[in-house]
């Protein structure tokens, strides 16, 4: 039997290892991407550290806010009193605007009309280990009722959907990922078009004809056609419009701050959800026109 010269052993090993990984890739390309055991093991091994890290950061923040920050309490009190007076004035002004009530009512309507649908708050404990994919890990998993394809939102807007659910952790595919897609429509004109991620901060709205009128700053909401997200949830605003052939090239700025997610809401339902509309308060108008400051009242 012919032995391999020692100087070539590492080269043979290199070739063998690469061929093995190429086979591994080939197997994955053939099959639909399911949760692989190595993913389960690795996530299971790393998520306790991520959880501990998130808890550690939370503890440090808590200690800082509840102890060290108290040193400036009197100055802070003075500042807050002044701020409080200003805010009272602002509230009076805001109360005079009748439209505000409608918008807030429609936003609250989402929560009220889905009281039978459990929602779960979850904390973001990690992100993707590479820059090519846009995902996040949550500190809740199968034990909390989270399953694949559940919708993930924040009070500001849509975040993404669950793509993997482990025992105590789950993975969210963010809207900005290249593989991400969502049924959406323009809030005012009700023109429908799917929106997809591009691996960049902005999203792409692909199938709006050149003849249709779209304005920068127009709000975009979910259409419900993907059967994952309920209708009329805020997705974002139109940031750029360029003529294309045959469709306009429209870029959307996400309503939710996807680059700095800390807490999200998971809609614990795999059934298509429908936002109930009340007379005189069309949810689309409301969600389309309301800003992040108003949506804070929606936080469960």
């Amino acid at each position: 039997m012919v032995g391999i010269p020692s100087r070539h052993k590492s080269l043979v090993l290199l070739t063998g290892v690469i061929v093995l990984q190429l086979l591994l890739l080939a197997v994955q390309i053939k099959r639909d991407s399911q949760g692989r055991l190595i993913r389960v093991w690795t996530v299971g091994a790393v998520s306790p550290f991520e959880r501990a890290g998130a808890t550690g950061v939370g503890s440090i923040r808590g200690a800082w806010n509840h102890y060290f920050a108290l040193q400036n309490t009197s100055r802070e009190n003075e500042r807050l009193r002044r701020e409080n007076d200003t805010l009272k004035l602002q509230i009076n002004q805001l109360q005079s605007k009748a439209g505000e009530a409608d918008r807030l009512a429609a936003l609250l309507n989402f929560r009220q009309s889905h009281q039978n649908i459990p929602m779960l708050g979850a904390r973001v404990i990690g992100t993707s280990a590479d820059t090519a994919s846009q995902t996040a890990y949550l500190d809740r998993g199968e034990r909390d009722g989270i399953r694949r394809n559940m919708a993930v939102i924040t009070p500001d807007g849509v975040v993404g959907k669950i793509i993997e659910s482990y025992r105590d952790t789950s993975q969210v595919l963010l809207l900005t990922d290249k593989d991400s897609g969502i049924g959406a429509m323009l809030a005012e004109s009700r023109i429908q078009s799917p929106i997809g991620g591009m691996g960049e901060p902005l999203l792409a709205m692909k199938y709006v004809a050149n003849d249709d009128t779209v304005n920068v700053g127009e709000h975009v909401v979910t259409s419900g056609m993907d059967r994952i997200f309920p209708r009329d949830l805020p997705v974002g605003t139109v940031a750029q419009i360029k003529p294309g052939n045959p469709f306009k090239q429209i870029r959307i700025r996400p309503a939710a701050n996807l680059e700095r997610l800390e807490e999200v809401i998971v809609l614990l339902s795999l059934q298509p959800l429908e936002l109930k509309k009340e007379a005189g308060t069309p949810a689309a108008e409301a969600t389309g026109k309301s800003g992040p400051s108003q949506t804070q009242t929606e936080k469960p």
Binding site: Q28, I38, T42, I163, L173, R260
Partner: protein, 176 residues
């Protein structure tokens, strides 16, 4: 027993370094943990590829191609496992296997202790790593990827600068 030994190749006087017990495993786990956790609070951190820097460092220091490529493969597969659905298992595994092998081979022939050499090598390996990832994506996964962007250039420089300081830190894990 002597913890270090000399390797003479082409009349070069190259020292092979050994590390404290568990240092490589701990550094690898810490790198993966930081890579997935820090961007939650500081999104710009994602530009740094800590698993790649760890692969390069231990490849250059250990100077054993077999060890280097196996460590690169392991780190790459773990990174694949923690990535999104657009990253199949093996994508970064292949890239880091090659980087680990070449880093060990170069480390066995050149003195790579000087910060300038480390800076240049990190930029070179970052480019090679990126090239293999893009090539694999285009050929095997049919994912259209550009070969070079300004962002990649900036990322290479940032990783090289971070690498120089990180390598100095990791030098402390060596056995004397």
């Amino acid at each position: 027993m002597n913890d270090t030994y000399d390797l003479r190749v082409a009349e070069a006087h190259i020292e092979v370094h050994k590390f404290r017990g568990g240092a490589i495993v701990a550094a690898t786990i810490l790198a993966l943990f930081l890579q997935t956790s820090v961007p939650v609070y500081f999104s710009k951190f994602a530009i740094i590829d800590l698993p790649l820097l760890i692969t390069i460092y231990f490849g250059l220091s250990r100077r054993n191609p077999s060890t280097g490529l196996l460590l690169g493969m392991l780190i790459g597969l773990l990174q694949d496992s923690l990535s999104g659905p657009t990253v199949p298992l093996g994508l970064y595994g292949i890239a880091k296997t090659v980087v680990g092998y070449l880093a060990s081979s170069i480390g066995a022939r050149l003195d790579t202790e000087h910060p300038a050499a480390r800076f240049a090598l990190t930029i070179m390996f970052f480019g090679l790593h990126q090239g293999i990832v893009v090539l694999t994506r285009r050929l095997l996964l049919a994912q259209p990827e550009v070969w070079f962007t300004t962002h990649m250039g900036i990322a290479a420089a940032v990783n090289a600068i971070v690498g120089v300081f990180l390598f100095m830190l990791l030098d402390r894990l060596r056995k004397n």
